[in-house]
């Protein structure tokens, strides 16, 4: 590493993070509509990555079906804004509510399964939601339907203004998601979740209510995924079962991003999603090769360092960039070796 001391490396990382936040805040003045559209995609994917990470990285709920709630949010938004004639701005939180309501019956099935069975079980549930969405009258059945012009124009009459509004909505959503998840992880429940991440049996033995923490996390993610679905619909201006419930876009990419960035940390999903957009800018012409490269990269990363790229960086850094733990190791001058937090679990 080029950094001479860990605290200098920490400073560089903090500056990069602050610089990123500054760019995101000033983006409406810095970028044209096309750039804002890409940043909106980045922010929605970041929300999906943070939510998948909360479930898979902390609560040990490895879902392969989170695209279900993105799609439900998209369809609910369309239903309220285009069919029921609700104010389009009010339709967005309503979409989150519908996603939350849909999460309750899904939970009954999902929580009867464990581990890898849970993963495929969530996939089946998502498949059922997607197939049902294709049967709904008024939603264009299997081929989907475009958002009415009136709904789109409620977010800005000219395209440039609309792009800015949608971007600001996405930025707000990402900020709320990140900050609330950070507060959740720093709360009493979050300490329990971190303990579960490191060793579930020990956490349970120490009195962490594992089932309650799991249910909370599962219900926590659904409305955020639904909100992301509504914003994605606003940007794409159409809903359809294969696109709104796309497992590739809303689950596969997200899993790769979190795994490559670093699962079970707050920084990992941010790093992974940012890297994904950098790679996409260079490799998008490659078509399917792009996905093959991502697949290979994620397998290589997880075999070398199960904590991802952030896990590699974290070996150099003295503390978390976004401190989740309450004892901050990053105090000035405290060059304490970063404890290796991830121990391979003993075989069950």
């Amino acid at each position: 590493m080029a950094f001479r001391s860990p605290s200098l490396a920490m400073l560089a990382c903090r500056l990069a993070l602050l610089g990123g936040i500054a760019v995101l805040l000033l983006a409406p003045w810095l970028f044209d509509s096309e750039g804002l559209a890409v940043l909106t995609q980045f922010l929605t994917l970041l929300v999906l990555a943070l939510m998948w990470n909360l479930l898979a990285g902390y609560a040990d709920i490895i879902t392969v079906g989170q695209h279900a709630f993105v799609g439900i949010g998209a369809y609910a938004f369309y239903g309220f804004a285009a069919l029921a004639g609700v104010n389009p701005y009010a339709a967005i939180p309503l979409a989150a509510l519908v996603a939350l309501v849909a999460a309750v019956p899904a939970m009954a099935i999902v929580f009867r399964l464990r581990a890898a069975y849970l993963a495929v079980g969530t996939w089946v549930v998502a498949q059922v939601f997607m197939l049902l969405a294709g049967k709904l009258p008024g939603f264009g059945f299997g081929s989907g339907v475009s958002l009415p012009i009136a709904v789109a124009q409620a977010f800005g009459t000219d395209p440039a203004g609309r792009y800015t509004t949608i971007y600001l909505l996405a930025l707000g959503l990402a900020a709320v998601t990140l900050i609330s998840t950070w507060l959740l992880l720093r709360s009493r429940i979050g300490i329990g979740l971190t303990a579960m991440r490191d060793n579930e049996e020990a956490a349970g033995a120490l009195g962490v209510n594992i089932v309650r923490a799991r249910i909370l996390c599962f219900l926590w993610t659904a409305p955020f995924l639904g909100l992301a679905g509504a914003i994605i619909t606003l940007q794409n201006l159409r809903i359809s079962p294969p696109a709104s419930f796309s497992i590739i876009d809303w689950t596969v990419f997200v899993i790769f991003n979190v795994v490559i960035g670093g699962i079970g940390t707050l920084e990992g999903p941010i790093l992974g999603t940012a890297l994904f957009f950098v790679l996409r800018a260079y490799f998008s012409d490659l078509g399917t090769w792009h996905l093959i490269i991502l697949g290979v990269l994620s397998i290589v990363v997880i075999l070398i360092e199960p904590r991802g790229l952030w896990g590699l960086l974290r070996r150099v850094l003295p503390g978390d960039l976004i401190p989740v733990s309450h004892r901050r190791a990053a105090a000035a001058g405290a060059v304490r070796a970063a404890p290796e937090r991830f121990e391979p679990q003993p075989p069950a």
């Binding site: 890898a116 498949q127 197939l131 049967k135 991502l294 290979v296 397998i299 391979p344 075989p347």
Partner: protein, 289 residues
């Protein structure tokens, strides 16, 4: 009326034979190696494309091609387990899941890159695909679906014998029961796992052959096969090969009954029946573990 009901049930059972073929390899790896191979459906599709190349480019009979492919898929399963999946064995569930998930995406997109998005069907078995037997005046059984079901039954019998009456089978069961103890008494668990995955490879090739003969496939049809296979395994009960066969047949009947009323609902009815039965009986029909 009775004829219609009998016909729908019969066709469902026959379809279930195909689903059981999809599921047997997954059932074996879930029972022995205790992991869910997310790429299972994609492996089946991959081998179907291999058979497609052999039958179209070389003009081979599809069953000759299958016999040629069997050692290849055995070796493929063996090597995959030995050099990739074994690295994740014994660790938490996330690792094997993510590795096979990555493999799934690599296979799907590699196939898309090579063969395009068109759907295909295997030919080269003469009139097998069109032949049928008339049971009564109203009920016909296709020869191919019947052969598929019989193959599934034979495969269950074969795997059952292998597991319960051979030396390799006792090794596999020992490792499945307790890896550490099996290692202690001198079994090489890595080698046993690799052999077990080789056997899974053989079942994948057989499933691929009958899938290609019975239905269309394209590079992205793997996940649908995985979901059907997974549902059959869970419905049947983990670790029970006969249960998996029964689970496949339940799904086949559910889908055929659904399709009888409205073809558009075939897939949904299949999934919903799975979810309802699962909620009623989470341990499956014939649980072993």
């Amino acid at each position: 009326m009775i004829d219609t009901i009998a016909n729908v049930l019969l066709q469902g059972i026959l379809l279930g034979g195909l689903y059981a073929l999809f599921a047997l390899g997954l059932s074996f790896s879930m029972g022995v190696m205790r992991f869910v191979n997310i790429a299972h459906g994609d492996f089946i599709v991959l081998v179907s494309f291999l058979l497609l190349v052999l039958t179209t480019a070389l003009g081979l009979n599809v069953f000759v091609a299958l016999i040629l492919v069997l050692p290849v898929t055995f070796a493929g399963g063996f090597l995959l387990q030995r050099f990739l999946l074994q690295r994740a064995a014994g660790s938490d569930v996330l690792l094997p899941l993510l590795i096979t998930f990555g493999l799934s995406i690599i296979i799907q997109n590699g196939l898309l890159q090579t063969f395009g998005a068109d759907s295909h069907v295997l030919a080269g078995a003469g009139t097998l695909q069109t032949a049928s037997i008339a049971l009564t005046s109203g009920i016909y059984i296709g020869v191919l679906p019947l052969l598929t079901l019989l193959t599934a039954v034979a495969l269950v019998l074969g795997l059952d014998r292998l597991l319960n009456y051979t030396r390799l089978g006792s090794h596999i069961r020992a490792v499945a029961d307790d890896v550490a103890a099996a290692d202690l008494i001198g079994l090489s668990s890595g080698r046993v796992y690799a052999l077990a995955m080789g056997i899974v490879g053989v079942t994948v090739a057989i499933a691929a052959c009958f899938m290609g003969l019975n239905m269309n496939f394209d590079p992205t049809s793997g996940p649908d096969r995985l979901l059907i296979a997974f549902e059959a395994v869970v419905l049947g009960g983990l670790g029970s090969l006969w249960g998996t066969l029964a689970g496949g047949i339940v799904l086949g009947i559910a889908q055929t009954v659904g399709a009888h009323f409205d073809t558009a609902w075939q897939l949904i009815i299949g999934h919903v029946v799975f979810l309802v039965l699962f909620l009623l009986r989470p341990q499956g029909l014939f649980p072993k573990y």
